[in-house]
Symmetry: C2
Subunit: 134 residues, 2 copies
DNA sequence: TATAATAACAGTAATCGTTACTGATTACAA
DNA sequence: TTGTAATCAGTAACGATTACTGTTATTATA
């Protein structure tokens, strides 16, 4: 039961996400899909983003800015968040899962994985304010 | 300007947090402080938690569960989140900041640090359901 | 010690991201 | 076709957090 039926809205959301590398929020997805399907509901966007991430077809990123970001790239990779402009950028970095063993050394529970992201200042923000006034 | 004035409510919040190692949420803080100051407002709790974390006297943890957790221990340490019961537990783990250099290898921006936490199943939850039925 | 300035308060309303509900529509199997 | 159930659009509800407002309390200074 609960057979998955085709929906052009869901397909459009998936396709849109695949074209973007900037990890858009639900609202950004909504605003863009609306240009193709002007009557799409924000609820539909949320429902399908949740459905797709439950299916493992997209990634839901819960960063520290309070809003969810979505990523069509489900392969193992890490993210950088600029603390000035808030942009989310992919990083080239090999798996750091070796830290799981170290973390579990004196821990009685079972460690399955870690959530890690990096923060700092992105290239563009470094250029736009090259020197600190402190 | 903006001189910090003493407030017994803020002091109580700080003291309460110092007694807890389970990283309570704002609402848990509120419920507990109410036993001492029955008329304290939830807004006051939020305001002071934000103030204290801005001052660096406590830590605000934004995990993936959508609610903020607070920690009186501001020393460098890492956290484990049980995906079954949601409890937040301190980990004994040396700094993993060496991953910052690896992350910055092919990255044009400036990496200041990382946010990392671990997830899995805590000891209590392992014991309460010892075998999977899959 | 008064007193004036203002930080902090309690109470409450507003905000914002997200989820749930409702009745209409659409995909798809029989 | 036609029945059914998944999906939809629209909207209301939700929960965590923040902002506002008029009152109270801390504290510097007279």
């Amino acid at each position: 039961m609960a057979t998955l039926k085709y929906s052009r809205q869901r397909e459009a959301i998936k396709e849109f996400l695949a074209t973007r590398k900037d990890h858009p929020t639900a609202d950004v997805v909504y605003q863009n899909i609306r240009e193709i399907y002007p009557h799409i509901s924000l609820g539909t966007v949320y429902r399908n983003l949740t459905l797709l991430s439950d299916l493992g077809e997209i990634l839901r990123l819960r960063l520290s800015d309070g809003v969810d970001h979505f990523d069509a790239d489900t392969s193992l990779h890490y993210h950088f968040i600029c603390k000035d402009c808030g942009s989310v950028i992919d990083l080239e970095l090999d798996s750091i899962d070796h830290i799981n063993a170290a973390a579990g050394r004196n821990f009685p529970g079972q460690i399955d994985g870690n959530v890690t992201y990096f923060y700092g200042t992105c290239k563009d923000c470094l250029l736009s304010k090259p020197m600190e006034t402190s």
